[in-house]
């Protein structure tokens, strides 16, 4: 595949950039993420994990099953700060997160 193919659409990271980190000795998605920002954007690696795992597999010879997934962190999708801070309310915050709905709708 052409080295300029965009793997991470959020941060616009191409195959070439990912391969430079593999050449440094990276073996995991998160190693590549921290150095290139691949997977650090709004989708949080939901789009780019699999193609990156394939590149790691091709480069290191490891099978796909040996490559650990990207570390998932709260809040999993973009969430308003005011929603996260809502623990002054008596209701549980988890409930509040869902009640607030999609921040993009506002």
């Amino acid at each position: 595949m052409d080295k300029s193919v965009m793997i991470c659409r959020c941060e616009e990271i191409n195959i070439d950039e990912i391969e430079t980190v593999l050449k440094l000795g990276a073996e995991r998605f998160d190693d590549i993420k921290r150095i290139t920002r691949c997977g650090m954007g709004p989708c949080q690696a939901k789009m780019c994990f699999k193609p990156v795992a394939q590149l790691i597999s091709d480069y290191t010879g490891k099978s796909l099953s040996e490559i650990p997934p990207a570390r998932a962190r709260m809040p999993l999708r973009m969430t308003r700060m005011s929603v996260m801070a809502s623990n002054q309310d008596s209701g549980s915050t988890v409930k509040a997160v869902f009640e607030d709905g999609d921040p993009d709708d506002k």
């Binding site: 440094l24 000795g25 990276a26 073996e27 995991r28 998160d30 190693d31 921290r34 150095i35 920002r37 650090m40 954007g41 709004p42 949080q44 962190r73 709260m74 809040p75 973009m78 969430t79 308003r80 700060m81 005011s82 996260m84 801070a85 809502s86 623990n87 002054q88 915050t93 988890v94 921040p103």
Partner: protein
């Protein structure tokens, strides 16, 4: 078997800086060995303040001050690490804290750290987005921040260019003292070295046990929130909050003693979100993209432990909480100590032997 001049255990911001500064002399065979990969541990889970002005006692503030002075020089050598000397604001919210702030300014002035104690109006003039509930702040021009990802990548690349070898994903499983030098037993084999540096961050205690050393450090977890990229909102590095070059705002200042547990917890995330809004009300409308959590090492008295370990010739230790701030000075001084046996600034206050002394005094 090949004999290295120096093996550094740990490829984080401390170990990598020592390896890089040693490699500048181009006269050593150096190996850096790490259980995973640069940035996988503490160095990759930090707000990366280069923070000076509230560091006490003043001789520790002075060490941090010198380190921040070295950042522009380091950047000229290894490349753009996005070091920004923004100036630092540590806000306070009660009048009682103003007394403490004035005392801090007085003691830090003795070592050349210039601190101004700001009124509410002055804080808001500098940082219009800050909450008007602020009572005042300490301010210093010397504080700033750096991009830890760029820093570690460029240390590694510069050291590699200077001939440093790396062995990643290779945990050290035992250490052995020899009549001259040390054997490093790792998952991928045994290495021999004349000099050995322990820079294992949160794994320092375990590595010390291989040499029957009880290194007096503990672990603390810190949790941080990251927003989506925002238009320029903050001008300074604020105690607790900074805005990165790409517009993301990082928020958080928490310390929990939970061992190696790096999970995020909802209670701390909520408290951190509360703090964000109480400091900078406009952040209420920002989206959080991610949270992260990191485990840091903290020496029991809070101060760095640097130097050769008494009774173990050519065995060196470098462990500290504020590795990002201290990285350039620690790399410089440790490389001086390892190659010349003396340093341009005294490391005596940071010797591990201070812990024995205090034990005897008790």
């Amino acid at each position: 078997m090949k004999v290295y001049d120096v093996i550094v255990i740990g490829a984080g911001v401390v170990g990598n800086s020592i390896a890089y500064h040693l490699s500048e002399q181009n006269s050593h065979d150096i190996l850096v060995i790490d259980k995973s990969f640069p940035l996988a541990g503490t160095s990759g889970s930090t707000q990366a303040w280069v923070w000076v002005h509230t560091k006490t006692p003043s001789y520790y503030g002075e060490l941090s001050f010198y380190s921040s002075q070295l950042y522009p020089y380091l950047e000229r050598k290894i490349g753009d690490v996005e070091y920004k000397r923004t100036g630092g604001i540590a806000p306070f919210f009660t009048e009682a804290d103003r007394e403490r702030a004035l005392k801090l300014a007085e003691s830090q002035a003795k070592v050349g750290i210039d601190i101004k104690v700001l009124s509410r109006e002055e804080v808001l003039e500098k940082e219009p987005a800050f909450s008007p509930n602020v009572v005042g702040a300490t301010f210093s021009k010397i504080d700033g921040n750096v991009n830890p990802f760029r820093l570690l990548e460029l240390y590694t690349r510069a050291a590699k260019n200077n001939g440093v070898e790396y062995s990643f994903y290779n945990a050290v499983i035992d250490l052995e003292k020899q009549s001259e030098g040390y054997l490093v037993h790792s998952q991928k084999g045994t290495f021999k070295t004349k000099k050995l540096v322990i820079a294992g961050g949160p794994w320092t205690k375990q590595i010390g046990k291989f040499m029957n050393l009880d290194i007096p450090v503990k672990l603390v977890r810190g949790q941080v929130l990251i927003t989506e990229p925002l238009a320029p909102l903050l001008n300074y590095t604020i105690g607790g909050i900074r805005q990165a070059t790409n517009g993301e705002v990082l928020i958080g200042y928490s310390m929990e003693e939970v061992g190696y547990n790096r999970r995020g917890t909802l209670d701390v995330i909520q408290e951190t979100a509360n703090m964000a809004i109480s400091f900078v009300p406009a952040l209420a409308h920002a989206n959080i993209v991610r949270t992260f959590s990191g485990v840091r090492v903290v020496p029991n008295d809070g101060l760095p432990i640097l130097g050769e370990i008494p009774g173990n010739k050519n065995l060196y230790l470098a462990t500290m909480h504020s590795g990002i701030t201290l990285s350039p000075i620690v790399g410089t001084l440790m490389s001086e100590l390892i190659t010349q046996g003396e340093t341009s600034l005294p490391l005596d206050p940071y010797s591990i032997s201070r812990f024995n002394r205090s034990r005897q005094e008790i």
